[in-house]
Amino acid sequence: MTTTDTQILPAAAETAEMLSGAQMIMRALGELGVEVIFGYPGGAVLPIYDEIFKQNSIRHILVRHEQAAVHAAEGYARSTGKPGVVLVTSGPGATNAVTGLTDALLDSIPVVCLTGQVARHLIGNDAFQEADTVGITRPCTKHNYLVKDPALIPDIIYEAFYVATNGRPGPVVIDLPKDVQIEKAPYKLSGQKAHRTYRPQVEGDEEKILDAIRLLAKAERPIIYSGGGVINAGPEASELLVAFARETGIPVTSTLMGLGAFPASDKQFLGMLGMHGTWEANHAMHDCDVMLAVGARFDDRVTGRTDAFSPGSKKIQIDIDLSSINKNIPVDVGIVGDAASVLKRMVTLWRDLKAKDHQPSLDAWWKQIAHWRAKKCLSYTDSTDVIMPQKAIERLQALTADRNPVISTEVGQHQMWAAQFLGFDRPNCWLTSGGLGTMGYGLPAAIGAQVAFPDRLCIDVAGEASIQMNIQEMSTANQYKLPVKVFILNNEFMGMVRQWQDLTYDGRRSESYSDALPDFVKLAEAYGWKGIRVSDPKDLDAAILEMINHDGPVMVDCLVSKIENCFPMVPAGAAHNEMLLSGDVVVQPSSDEARAVV
């Protein structure tokens, strides 16, 4: 998504048409290639909604809650690589959007959110549906604007898209007082060539790239740790990551957000790392001698205890955001730049310098990795009486792989099992809330992806608790005939919470039982969806096939084992190489210190 050209605004027009603020908004969005807006109307955005009514080129998807509008825009953005656009009213509309904005900020998703505001002369008066939107959203956006003059609308909208999509992507809010939407002004762009201040560094420093190549060429136990930044840098970055891994023969692990950038089926892939990462990925990270982090930010779910994180390695980090480098873990070589641009240079240099000829053999390292792999850390005990959640995901994977589905998730155990077992071979197919861990993300995100790709299979892998957090969006899917599928791993628990309580609070399952659940099949039917319930392992495949073969939205209530835990797991306050596996007897010191780390 990062572009090298600095032109953010087209040249100024000779004559300027007089337009209302609302007309200017629609004009600018059209010029910027916006195809769809996810929104919800209200008093403070009526002028914009009136313009939406009068045109056909931009589609409006009416959600049922503003939080879902932002998640849908995120799903759209993550699956297409284009920015997602949101429109909400003032006050409660804007505050409802805050969770989505924070989610987009933490996962670096480009979203432009237009919020209505009370008329300029009412600002600060506690007017009806007034909220200090720029104040509230300042810490949860990459940038925000309060537009006080309609003549500035075109420039601000162009700039907002530039800021949202360049550098490290993120959400941008444009707060629009109602009278500014009504007032007329000449539609004129300033024709400014480059942004005044915001010019992210795209190309990496050549000397540092050379340092990185030298380190990697000498490494005996190297690893590539790839993150969401590779996906944000566009499909080319994923191709270059594969090319570099092939050239060098280095094993690759990925963060939750980075899944799909490197093909999961490739023999050089070690699986996901971190708290619920694989045995081989976490051990390889811990024992490596040179680590190349690409678009990954050493998040605490990845590092575990920082003082025990990969203690003996030289670390190289490529990131578009200088502030991500040396934030949590000090690195030896920090390269600020776009992942695609830097990887491209690395592939070229590796070839030109014939680094391969000097590279020590990685055979011993791969042998060690094979040894870790032999642990088969994702294995679980299957059952003929009850559907194991891992089994359900494995079957979902097997029965849908040929359709190249877009998968979203909610948050909890099901999310981790999906990450472990789905195996993505392509970028932009995996939509999950990694940084904020927002329950209720998955259904609207799947809707956003389905809007972008009407003919693709879009599945939300859900938990019975999370799905209830944006369940109202079933109505949105019905209205727009979006054939999204929701596959609920129903364990009757907030499974991830229960797992932590069992492991660190001596099994006191405080408030983590999903009581009084709705009948999901009847609920589906009430919303005009197809509902399927499955509980017998024998019927699992048939249920999945029925789901994917139905040409409308389907909700599957898949009743699974209730107290299965998600492994491997790096427990509270532990190092990467101290993982628990399925079947381990868990003797956890429930120290306050350990409880506080997580």
């Binding site: 800021v163 915001y198 200088l322 502030s323 934030k327």
Partner: protein, 170 residues
């Protein structure tokens, strides 16, 4: 060079677009991420180009100071960030107004000390003075300390304004 783990004081200059909310962004960054602010000053310095200069005095380990600079730098309305403490020699001044109440010997002593510190007397009554003093934070600390024994009533300080020494600007 500052040792890895030690905490040191840094004076950081930030040139920003003089637009609504920019100060809130900077302050919000410090409070939101738990960075320390010892002092912060801001004023428009170029009306035509609509630029303001913010001078922040903060403390932290080397990694934290690097973070602060990187975080400031990625705010959209920020033009430039410079760490005066690491970039070379710099001058830093603040202004203080110091009100002292007293009679007789103490009053004479306060005046004498003010003179020694090159403070100006900007208000005086029979029983009080307001002194105006510019200088480094240390100098002002020392002056306030001395006045506390001579009838100090209250102090107002601006916080540091700082520039690098030599011919080059930011």
């Amino acid at each position: 060079m500052q040792e890895q783990g030690t905490i040191a004081r840094h004076t950081i200059s930030v040139i920003v677009d003089n637009e609504a909310g920019v100060l809130a962004r900077v302050i919000g960054l410090f409070s939101g991420r738990g960075y320390n602010i010892e002092s912060l000053t801001v004023a428009s310095v170029d009306a035509e180009a609509k630029r303001s200069r913010i001078t922040v005095v903060t403390t932290g380990t080397r990694m934290v100071i690097e973070q602060i600079k990187a975080q400031l730098d990625r705010l959209v309305p920020v033009h430039k960030v410079a760490d005066l403490t690491v970039d070379g020699k710099f001058v830093s001044r603040e202004l203080a107004l110091v009100k002292v109440r007293g009679e007789g010997e103490k009053r004479v002593e306060a005046l004498r000390l003010a003179d020694a510190f090159r403070a100006n007397t900007v208000d005086s009554t029979r029983t009080s003075f307001v002194f105006e003093l510019t200088g480094s934070a240390d100098k002002i600390d020392a002056f306030v300390e001395l006045m506390s024994e001579l009838g100090l009533v209250e102090v107002a300080r601006t916080g540091a304004a700082a520039l690098s020494r030599g011919a080059d600007g930011l």
